[in-house]
């Protein structure tokens, strides 16, 4: 049903159920917002109506109405720019700023902050209100996420990300009145909670209250330490997002520029996590075929995503036998680098520094898990996010957009199209299916585009014929979707052979460490498309055909699933039901 209303005297007709804000957008009338947040392609809507920045005048209504959550009604007359509305909006912003630190220059969200942008947009140059400001302790307890509650504006977007989207349920409103803030219950430190460090809250936070734990300086220090050999690995999803930090179009593939930039920063070798992704496929597919043919411990779940793994350990500990025991690509890379590669170049593992560039904040946590530090030497020493790498490139004065394309170093730099698509939801499963099809059929299968598992949908299901076996597979992204699917499995209502799960909606292209999308999900779609473009453009598109992988097994590991492979490339999970 259509509803007719007028905004600033302009008639407009919209569907019933629309909000004033949506109707105004149709007329290209801009109403400022702050707490309002949507991620269209995942059907995520956050309309708490709490900041009151979007208030407008509605004829006949005694008080101002929040445009973001007031549904339109027939004959409504709205005015967005009356003195009353503008005055109220300015006052609200003034109040927010009266309890917000003014350290914008050094804030991790400087120039990415929506409160800052709003102050600029509304031309607020003089503050009327002053008074007490919040003084909470900063939470730097985890390896991944920093919390500075003095900056929290109670927009509650992080709460929606944590509770509704991810169903992790760590963040919620606590305290009353002026001391109200979003935090874990009992004001616990993040490290003491069930937080999985997916960083969706960091993506959602419009201000500097949530950000990553910054490891740029340790990287600079390592790069300038003559006694260390410093190598770097870059995750698949980084290359299709980092360009955005330098004003390039979303979806630009900047692999070559990134490699050049890393070399210019001073890394001794620039390697690719994609190499390790191919390695992961070798191990995981071996396990998949074994479990399917022997029909035990099904379904097999992917284990590349540390956020998802921690979620399972806390929320579904009874299912910890399900994920593949294969380590994630990041950790496989670290393990191989500190053994095979270190040996090859004659450097002691403790003198080899492995740096990861990840689209992810949970990877910072994963690298610090004690089981990934044999003899006290971490396999992956330092993890920085896409954003942190962009900062370093800027800091070094490198003109990223102008760089020539570089190529990865050998031997841990060669990869295939199967590895590139790890960065999008469905990619890991598709990569595994490509290898499984060849191995089961014993030939080079040509049909390798498994399109049913691609795209942004939160839960995708497909039955694919792999070498004569009807394989029932599912792909999940977003932990809320994962929860739904796992509960179905627990109830015995779903029956799959293999399931890929990624913590972030859309996969790593939407990781907590990626350039901020501020709710513009078209950017995510472009990043995803770029990954599949990159895949299609590569000469080798199946992991088991990666020549350096073949060489690695010949020289060092034997065959997939071997004893040596198990020792280096596999792990076990921990029941964290009780913390």
């Amino acid at each position: 049903m259509k509803i007719n209303l007028k905004i600033n005297d302009q008639p407009v007709s919209v569907d019933s159920g629309c909000t004033i804000l949506e109707a105004a957008e149709k007329l290209e009338i801009k109403i400022p917002t702050l707490c309002h947040f949507t991620m269209d392609c995942f059907n995520v809507e956050h309309r708490s109506g709490s900041c009151r920045v979007c208030v407008v005048e509605v004829k006949g209504r005694p008080n101002l109405a929040p445009a973001c959550c007031t549904p339109v009604v027939e004959g409504m007359e709205v005015r967005t720019n009356t003195l009353r509305a503008i005055n109220a909006r300015r006052t609200i912003l003034d109040l927010l700023l009266s309890n917000h630190p003014k350290d914008c220059l050094t804030c991790p969200k400087n120039l990415e902050c929506q409160l800052q942008a709003l102050a600029q947009e509304m031309g607020l140059h003089h503050l009327l209100y002053k008074g007490e400001q919040s003084t909470f302790n900063k939470d730097l307890s985890s390896f991944a996420i920093a919390r500075d509650l003095d900056k929290c504006i109670m927009c509650r977007r992080c709460e929606t990300a944590c509770n509704k989207v991810q169903t992790v349920g760590v963040l919620s409103g606590v305290n009353r009145g002026f001391r109200a803030v979003v935090a874990p219950a009992g004001m616990k430190r993040l490290a003491d909670t069930e937080c999985v460090f997916c960083g969706q809250c960091v993506q959602a936070c419009p201000v500097g209250a949530l950000s990553e734990i910054d490891y740029k300086y340790p990287v600079w220090r390592a790069l300038n330490d003559a006694s260390k050999t410093v190598i770097v690995q870059t995750a698949p999803a980084v290359r299709v997002a980092i360009g955005e930090c330098f004003g390039m179009e979303p979806g630009a593939v900047s692999t070559g520029k990134m490699v050049t930039a890393l070399r210019m920063l001073g890394f001794d070798k620039v390697f690719d996590t994609d190499f390790a992704a191919d390695l992961t496929i070798m191990e995981e597919t071996t396990e998949l075929i074994d479990r399917v043919t022997k029909n035990h411990d099904l379904p097999i779940l992917t284990s590349c995503c540390p956020g998802w793994v921690k979620f399972l350990e806390h929320q579904f500990p009874e299912l910890i036998y399900m994920p593949s025991s294969a380590k994630s690509p990041q950790q496989m890379f670290g393990a191989i680098a500190k053994s095979y590669y270190a040996e090859k170049i004659g450097v002691k593992p403790e003198d080899l520094i492995v740096v990861s560039v990840m689209p992810c904040l949970a990877k910072k946590y994963e690298a610090a898990r004690p089981e990934f530090a044999p003899n006290g030497v971490r396999d992956v020493d330092i993890v920085i996010s896409t954003r942190e790498l962009a900062d370093m490139i800027r800091e070094a004065g490198i003109q990223f957009e102008e760089l020539e394309d570089g190529v990865y170093d050998s031997p841990l730099g060669e990869s295939t199209g199967a590895a590139v698509i790890f960065g999008a939801t469905g990619g890991v499963l598709e990569a595994a299916l490509r290898t499984a099809a060849d191995w089961i059929a014993g030939q080079d299968v040509r049909e390798i585009d498994f399109k049913a598992v691609r795209g942004m949908a939160g839960i995708k299901e497909a039955t694919v014929n792999v070498g004569g076996i009807e394989l029932r597979a599912a792909v999940c992204s977003g932990l809320g979707n994962a929860r739904k699917l796992l509960e179905k499995i627990e109830r015995g209502e779903a029956n799959y052979h293999a399931i890929e799960i990624m913590a972030c909606p859309g996969g790593c292209i939407n990781g907590g460490g990626q350039p901020y999308h501020h709710g513009d999900t078209s950017r995510l779609e472009k990043r995803m498309a770029a990954l599949y473009r990159a895949d299609a453009g590569l000469p080798i598109r199946k992991s088991h055909q990666n020549p350096d992988i073949i060489k690695l097994y010949e020289e060092f590991l034997g065959e997939p699933g071997s004893h040596a492979a198990h020792k280096l490339l596999h792990t076990a999970y921990i029941d964290r039901k009780n913390g």
Binding site: S50, L64, I92, L95, G173, R176, A180
Partner: protein, 614 residues
């Protein structure tokens, strides 16, 4: 006992009424207030005395809820059924009990305090000529034992439910409530019948009816009195409401700080279930209804209906934007009606006696009665129920007996922290919802806090705002930060740091908070500021322009001096906690202002009025 038909109920009431009763009845008020004042010991002493004198068959002791005479607790009332005489004693001690029982109703026991009957008329649903109170809501409170279902049944209990279920359609019930003009007694004054109509109009399926017993206004205790004194009247009304809207489940949301009310409710629910008055197929009508109790953790904002619903659902108790209204999408996303305790307490009487009867009391726009909790500087603190349209002067001077210690009336705050203050010029205004709104205040839940000349109105505004500050959920910006800034400005003024500009900023920010806050709590939070500003501008100006607090309350703005009336007795010197006073014996003393903390001890102890407060 299982009452399956209206006839069975009537028969039972008949039997109970015709039961022989002891000639003398002693009512003992054992509400929270009575018990806190020592009613437990008094009660024990009464029982002991009865046993001692072998009066078991001559005297009936009834433990009742609050009689409304809070200023005189513990209170007991003697009724002589033969002579019709009655006596009310206040401030009773266990030691006085033997003399009171010995005297009976024939004479007043020596050394006791009796209470004039005009204060307390529980049995009149219409005021007697010359009297002010009328009791609908409190019809049984203070008169019946709330823990005994028989007493409720004996006094027409559950006949309204029987009538509704067996002789009326749900729509007829709603029409009766609509016609009665009953409005929400929780403060908003929304027509109850319309609320019911909205919920009834929603497609059939699971619906809920909720009793809001999260009474939280400072100085308001009428809901507690009803729940402690007459729980069955609320249960009966909820079942009637459930029938009207098509809900089979009722939820009472009550603050956990009311343990006695909770206990009596639990007891009443158990009795009603056992008697078949709650549960399946009530009065053979095929209508099922049961009630559960949910506890609030003492957050004021949970009195707001959407916050209340979220709290029941186990979420953080904070309001959400309406629409959707609870009548459309409420508890567990089902159509839900939320009514206040006092509203429910009117329902059974309306169904029993009809809409016309209810409308014969009160004003055209606001029929019926309203219970007020009188508190503050009033002589007789307590509960009073009066028809809507009674003047404040009657309530404060005739029922409350004027201002304590012969001081001068200054203002009365209605509507609690969301309301405003009313000054002497409006004392003769007949009050109902609209009248209070027109003078910048509101009905609220019915708290009435009386202030005298010793109250500083800036400080009063600060007091109420501080309450809101603590109780705000912090969800929306204007309430979370705006009220904090308002409070800080008031502090500036009471500390003598304010300017005329501060007052202007107060006004401007108050207006914007009212205009933009998310829920009723925030939208009304600046009311105490605005109404004190409107009614007592001179007091604000005295603070900021002259650095003076006219009422002598704001510590930073007052100082104490010793005048030449001082005889040098040394009493102030001895009592001063910070040794700020010096002087030789029999010489005029002086106060060292740099040491003085303005505690006022010298002012109070001086027997010669030689200490001046300025």
């Amino acid at each position: 006992m299982n009452i399956k038909t209206p006839e069975a109920l009537a028969k039972m009431a008949g039997v109970l009424k015709s039961r022989p009763k002891p000639p003398v009845q002693i009512l003992v008020s054992v509400g929270t207030c009575g018990l806190a004042a020592g009613a437990g010991a008094v009660l024990k002493s009464i029982y002991d005395e009865i046993v001692e004198r072998r009066l078991e068959n001559a005297v009936e002791v009834v433990e009742v809820g609050c009689m409304g005479l809070c200023y005189a607790e513990p209170v007991i009332m003697l009724n002589d059924r033969r002579s019709g005489k009655r006596l009310i004693y206040g401030d009773v001690t266990p030691q006085q009990v033997p003399a009171i029982i010995a005297a009976g109703t024939d004479s007043i026991a020596a050394g006791t305090r009796t209470i004039e009957r005009s204060w307390y008329y529980p049995e009149f649903e219409k005021p007697e000529p010359g009297e002010l109170q009328a009791r609908i809501v409190l019809r049984n409170t203070g008169r019946l034992n709330p823990e005994k279902l028989e007493q409720y049944i004996e006094n027409d209990g559950y006949t309204a439910l029987a009538k509704a279920l067996t002789t009326m359609t749900p729509q007829q019930v709603i029409d009766t409530i609509l016609a009665s003009g009953l409005r929400g007694r929780g403060g908003g004054g929304f027509p109850t019948g319309r609320k019911w109509q909205f919920a009834a109009a929603q497609p059939a399926g699971e619906k809920f009816i909720i009793c809001n017993a999260d009474e939280g206004d400072p100085g308001a205790f009428m809901d507690r009195a009803v729940l402690e004194g007459d729980p069955h009247s609320v249960l009966e009304a909820m079942a009637i409401g459930g029938y009207a809207i098509g809900a089979n489940t009722g939820v009472i949301y009550i603050r956990a700080e009311y343990p006695l009310a909770v206990r009596r409710l639990e007891n009443a629910i158990g009795q009603a279930r056992e008697a078949g008055l709650l549960g399946k197929n009530l009065f053979g009508s095929g209508f099922d209804f049961d009630i559960q109790i949910k506890f609030g953790a003492g957050a004021f904002v949970c009195g707001e209906e959407t916050a209340l619903i979220h709290s029941i659902e186990g979420m953080r108790g904070e309001p959400t934007v309406k629409p959707p209204f609870p009548a459309v999408e409420g508890l567990w996303k089902r159509p839900t009606v939320v009514n206040n305790v006092e509203t429910f307490a009117c329902v059974a009487a309306i169904i029993r006696k009809g809409a016309e009867w209810f409308k014969s009391l009160g004003t055209t726009g606001s029929p019926g009665t309203k219970v007020f909790a009188l508190a503050g500087k009033i002589s007789k603190v307590g509960l009073a129920e009066v028809p809507m349209g009674t003047t404040l002067r009657d309530i404060i001077y005739r029922i409350g007996d004027g201002i304590r210690d012969g001081r001068q009336f200054k203002a009365v705050q209605t509507g609690g922290p969301s309301g405003g203050c009313i000054t002497a010029k409006n004392l003769d205004l007949p009050i109902d919802y609209e009248a209070l709104k027109s003078i910048g205040s509101m009905m609220g839940s019915g708290g009435m806090i009386v202030m005298d000349e010793d109250d500083c109105m800036v400080n009063i505004a600060k007091f109420f705002l501080e309450f809101t500050l603590d109780e705000s959920c912090g969800k929306c910006t204007p309430c979370r930060i705006g009220n904090r800034r308002l409070f800080e400005m008031l502090e500036e003024i009471t500390d003598g740091r304010g300017t005329l500009e501060t007052i202007e900023k107060l006004k401007a920010l108050s207006a914007i908070i009212k205009d933009t806050a998310l829920c009723g709590l925030g939208q009304t939070s600046p009311n105490p500021v605005l109404s004190t500003l409107a009614n007592f501008p001179d007091e604000y100006i005295a603070h900021v322009k002259e650095g003076r607090c006219p009422a002598g309350v704001c510590q930073k703005l007052i100082h104490f001096d010793i005048s030449d009336r001082c005889v040098g007795c040394g009493l102030c010197l001895k009592n001063c906690p910070v040794n700020a006073i010096s002087g030789e014996k029999r010489q005029r003393h002086t106060i060292d202002q740099s040491k003085c903390i303005k505690c006022g001890v010298c002012f109070r102890v001086c027997k010669f009025h030689a200490v001046d407060k300025k």
